[in-house]
Amino acid sequence: MAEAATGAVRVERVRGRSVLTRCFARYPLKLIAPSKVGPSSCNAVWLYALTYGGGIVSVSPEDLPPLSILSVLARCAVAGYSRLGVGEGCCSVTCSWCRARARPCRGTPYRARSASATGARRRSPRRPRPRYAGCLMKLDSALPAYTYTMAVLCGLVMLTRVCRMVYKAVGSKCSEQLLEARVGEDALLAVIPDPVTCFSTARYHQKQVFQVSANSNLVVVDWFTSGRYESGEKWDFSFYKSVNHIFLGDQPLFIDSTLLEQGSNYSIAERMHEYNVIAMIVLLGPKLRHIQDKMQDEVKKLMSGQLRPPTSGGSLYTMRSKPPQRPQRPPLVASCSPFGRTGTGMVARVAAVSTELAYSFLRHHLAALEMFLGASPYAAS
């Protein structure tokens, strides 16, 4: 679908520094590479990806309203290190927004608000502010300790604010987003977005494909929320699919695909219980080994305290004698698994009751990335 890339980025090592050598973006995507994200000693490029229009919609770019609104759609971080020379150890990222592949909202959820909704006024689509919540693209970092390396980092954060703009829905196709990245030898790429938030009836499909080499380093955070759950819109979207593939040469290293769709026996909301956020964190590569180990230890400690056999609570007899009371579930469930034949990668899966909990989890566990990126992810949000 999205053959023509909407954006392309390349970061290479030039005289020991990570340099953004290519940065192309086309409406409705905009890329911003601020130069002062971290200390100047830090050799990382940060890149923010924004889109005009405030979300992914079902109409094609030509039909979008004039460029009056800029909102941040994506943040991406790519880091590349190369041992020697220029040109190696580069990272390149292309992303494309499949033109407005659709947003169904039948009877636009927002139409109703003009009438009554008091609290809704605050969220009126009239004057949306630029939202920088999610966009941060960091290019590279060279660690002081590894003088020969250079890194390019670019992050892409995606927020789907589909319904906010009350665009007309076209058909019932999916909004799609595609990101392809190649991470060179000794390079580091960090994709550290804010969560995708699918509004009621939204249909969303994203695919991220990473090509890595044996010594590449990769951080991917992929997460989504139940919607605007504080106003009662919980797991109300129609379709969500997120695909993350990591290939080492032509060998599949990590193939992940998560699909949530209404229409099974149990609705998504029933399946998710009180949890509102699902997150996945991938850490791959030799430079991230200590972060992986630390995270595994801490998660194990955190979770083993929460898990215990029900004191005969599961048996029929206690159920009968006592009124059924909902036992407390852990507010955050997390688990880590190594992957790859040699265990070079680690993936953590997290389910959390609130976005704040998930943010603090990410902030805490990814803080050590500051040595590579120059600033720690999710720090200011």
Partner: protein, 257 residues
Amino acid sequence: MESGSPVSKKSRLFHSEDCEMEEVPSNAAGVNPSLHWTQWQILDSILPTGGFAHSYGLEAAMQSRMVNNQEDLKSFVIQVLDNTGSLLLPFVYCASKSPDAAEWVKLDQLLEATLTNEVARKASTSQGSALLRVAASVFTEIQVLQDLRRAFLGSKSVSFHHAPIFGLICGLVGFDSETAERAYMFVTMRDVFSAATRLNLIGPLAASVLQHQVAPDAERMMQKWRDRDVSEASQTAPLLDALQGCHAYMFSRLFCS
């Protein structure tokens, strides 16, 4: 009912001398009764494949109070079946469709990358290698199984995951792919209920009642996810996946996964 439809299809094929007959290996095609014996043996819980060492995440779900009673169990089973259908049935299907070593190696390697949850991955490899061992000893008439076992035993490049092995064996003994997929769903369901009984979540009789109740849902899910390519495999229960990963963190536990 489960074994009914494939049989009638087979006999129809047999009578009409349809040229599509070739899809069914000759050792099984003519003798429907013997296919039944094989089929039932593959599904029988007495076949020592070690399935009962696994709770498919049920134990972790109980210890985190996600599953507390029979209603929760029903929802859990349906979610596990849905997830099995969308994630693993494509592997069963592709392996049963073309049961040869080259295709199987490809599927096995892909599934190794797809099962990103270590607990589920280990459960899959231990059940898969047990199943291959048993099948190679039991179905001695199938030379491919012996060869496969000899060629790849101790090999680092394959992991013997359960779904492709199951599909492969079903394909080799002459099952059509639909039966193979239904059988895989059945085996999964059987093992979860068995685990639930031993976790004292439900009594044996009530478990059988529930199993019968869930069967139509399982059939619907099988129909929904059947005959898909492995490129479409995806997981549909991210919460249960995160939970199952916690299995190794539990201080006391009954099951391997």
